[in-house]
């Protein structure tokens, strides 16, 4: 009897609890769905506009159900005069890839140094590195323009690569420093007594263990380099211009070719999207889990 009573009480309590939890859970999903829709809607408009015919783009009320066409992509790539979007796409890929690679390699080494060695002025140096990002980039545009000009590097890939690397370095160093500090020191001590030098330990032990950190900083650096507009706009004309620069000039030279404009916009998003998805599986946490108790 008693058992039965307790059970039915439990049951009632359970029902009450889930009844109270139900609207909160639903509300949470609703809010998340609205926010996701809000974020993705512009992207939806870009992609669908790129896939519509010109009449469908300007139709009112908007056509939701239409037959997609790749005409705009074809036009943007092969029909439009001047340099094709592919030229700028390649520029963007070169500049983003090289600056990301250099920033991650140099940044990882610097971060390891900050995480594992003590030296005079360490805290000040670390703070100074972070402080390079305190001011808005536009504050440095004039001195940097003059430096690049004096060095004869206007409209060159190397100028943007150097600037993007410098800007990404502080981010890479600060994020990776935390990852390196989390590696149990005993693992590196074990490597020391196993006969490895500090540099070997960095490459063979520490670096593989911070792979999630490397991947996330690489993604963030690549996104930054890929989307950077201000410096690319000021420091390049044509030879080294990146996609954002090309996109900004699009409407001027071609009138308002919305379909083609959005087609280039879609292509501008794709590489970074592919890069992120390709690396995402390496973002697993807890690789060091289980190494030490």
């Amino acid at each position: 009897m008693t058992v039965g009573l307790v059970r039915s009480k439990d049951l009632k309590a359970g029902v009450r609890r889930s009844a109270a939890a139900w609207p909160i859970g639903t509300l949470r999903y609703l809010v998340a769905a609205i926010f996701t829709g809000f974020c993705l809607f512009p992207f939806y408009v870009i992609v669908t506009t790129a896939l519509k015919t010109e009449t469908a783009i300007f139709a009112w009320p908007p056509v939701w159900n239409f037959k997609p066409t790749l005409q705009s992509f074809y036009n943007a790539l092969f029909v439009f005069g001047g340099r094709s979007a592919i030229f700028y796409l390649i520029n963007s890929v070169i500049i983003s890839a090289v600056s990301t690679f250099v920033a991650v390699v140099l940044g990882a080494m610097a971060a390891y140094g900050f995480a594992r060695f003590s030296f005079a002025g360490k805290r000040h140096l670390a703070f100074w590195i972070l402080s390079t990002r305190f001011a808005p980039p536009v504050a440095f545009i004039v001195p940097i323009y003059l430096m690049v000009q004096k060095a004869g590097m206007l409209d060159s890939h190397i100028a943007l690569i150097l600037i993007y690397t410098a800007m990404n370095l502080s981010l890479v160093i600060w994020i990776l420093r935390g990852f390196f500090s989390e590696i149990p020191i005993e693992i590196e001590e074990a490597a020391l007594v196993d006969g490895y030098s500090r540099l070997q330990i960095f490459w063979r032990v520490a670096l593989p263990l911070v792979r999630p950190g490397i991947v996330s900083t690489a993604i963030l650096s690549a996104i930054f380099s890929w989307n950077e507009f201000l410096y690319a706009m000021v420091l390049t004309q044509s030879k080294a211009a990146t996609l954002p620069v090309y996109l900004a000039g699009f409407s001027n030279s071609m009138g308002l070719a919305w379909g083609e404009y959005m087609a280039v916009g879609t292509m501008a998003v794709l590489p970074i999207l592919i890069f992120t998805f390709a690396l995402q599986k390496h973002l697993v946490r807890g690789l060091t889990f289980g190494a030490v108790k």
Partner: protein, 364 residues
């Protein structure tokens, strides 16, 4: 395969903490030496200094009469086993064991042969493809041992290697470590805070406290002839009982007015000192409990812990608390009044500076 010598080694941390104080110690070639002491006594610092993982302030370290303290860790040819295993999480068990060999750039075929041989010795061939996250604690430490064994170093340094393992695994693995060490004949320094473990595997034991070496010897040396009160109290379980004594004569003593019979060597030691604040030390095994006797040391039983064939009995006496080990069938009931007697030749006396009076003679 080295004779290791510490000469006046001291280590002081920047905050002034003295981790090691003027350590003089020789570890003989092929010996298994245990560093035993409570946490913070400097035993871990000692082997970390020897491995080159930490610097020290003063003194020198020699291996086969060559100074090694200026060498970087990778040049000292020591293999270390860590309390928390410190395996490489991104590598399989096989690769973990192979790492010291890869550092020495051995040909792949030899690496494979040696790792396979070690895996066989440790009976863990079936685990070689697994990463550390898929190994149990005991399996992880087996890999750690394998990694240390694989390259046949000049010395093994083991920093509480079994500390994180369950009791039955500790017993099993420590026997394995001892067997392997004997077979390979490699000089080994083994750090532990567990005296039972030290007693089970060590050739000699070094007891450390507050950065200072207290005593070196076999477990029986430490047990029967402790040089000071710290060693007497730390070694032996349950710990030695200490009772304050009065000197009734040049060579006789009493506890709370009850005269204590003592051995001739102890008498001689007593005659040689003027110290009046003496402490008597008695091992719980050396007590026997009987019915209370007038003019004798009597006490009240406060706690009885049955342990199988024997029981640990806590007794409250006018001189202070005492612990006795008695056969199970003769254990008293809690609350009972008992008389304490002890064998005169197995007593220890400590002076006011906590040094043993009968150093190196009395006792056993």
């Amino acid at each position: 395969m080295a004779r290791i010598e510490f000469k006046g080694v001291s280590k002081t941390y920047p905050d002034g903490t003295r981790a090691i104080v003027d350590l003089d110690l020789v570890v003989e070639d092929g010996e298994l030496l245990c560093l035993l002491g409570p946490s913070g006594c400097g035993k871990s610092s000692t082997i970390r200094v020897l491995a080159g993982l930490e610097t020290f302030s003063d003194g020198m370290i020699l291996a086969d009469n060559n100074r090694i303290d200026h060498l970087p860790p990778q040049a000292r040819d020591c293999a270390m086993i860590f309390e928390n295993y410190a395996l490489y999480p991104h590598l399989t068990a096989f690769e973990n064991i192979a790492m010291p060999l890869r550092a020495r750039r051995l040909p792949a075929s030899e690496i494979k042969a040696r790792v396979t041989k070690i895996a066989g010795i440790l009976r863990m061939e079936h685990l070689m493809g697994r990463r550390p996250s898929r190994l149990s604690g005991g399996e992880k430490q087996r890999v750690g041992i394998g990694r240390a064994l694989v390259r046949e170093p000049a010395m093994f340094l083991m920093d509480e290697p079994l500390g994180h393992l369950e009791a039955y695994l500790r017993v099993e693995l420590r026997a394995e470590i001892r067997k392997l060490q004997e077979r390979l004949g490699i000089t080994t320094i083994y750090v532990t805070h567990d005296q039972e473990e030290a007693a089970a595997i060590a050739d000699r034991i070094v007891v450390m406290s507050a950065g200072r070496l207290q005593q070196v010897g076999s477990f029986l040396d430490l047990f029967d002839r402790p040089v000071n009160r710290f060693v007497a109290e730390f070694v032996g379980e349950p710990p030695m009982v200490f009772l304050p004594v009065e000197r009734t004569n040049a060579d006789s003593i009493a506890v709370k007015g009850v005269r204590i019979p003592i051995s001739e060597p102890l008498r001689a030691a007593l005659r040689a000192t003027q110290d009046r604040e003496l402490i008597l030390g008695i091992r719980p095994n050396d007590f026997s409990l009987g019915p209370p006797v007038r003019d004798h040391l009597n006490g009240t039983v406060t706690l009885v812990q049955p342990q199988g064939d024997h029981a640990i009995v806590a007794v409250s006496t006018p001189a202070g608390p005492a612990t006795a080990i008695v056969p199970s069938d003769r254990r008293p009931a809690p609350g009972a009044t008992v008389g304490l007697t002890f064998a005169g030749e197995r007593l220890h006396l400590f002076d006011s500076a906590a040094r043993a009076l009968n150093k190196g003679e009395g006792g056993g």
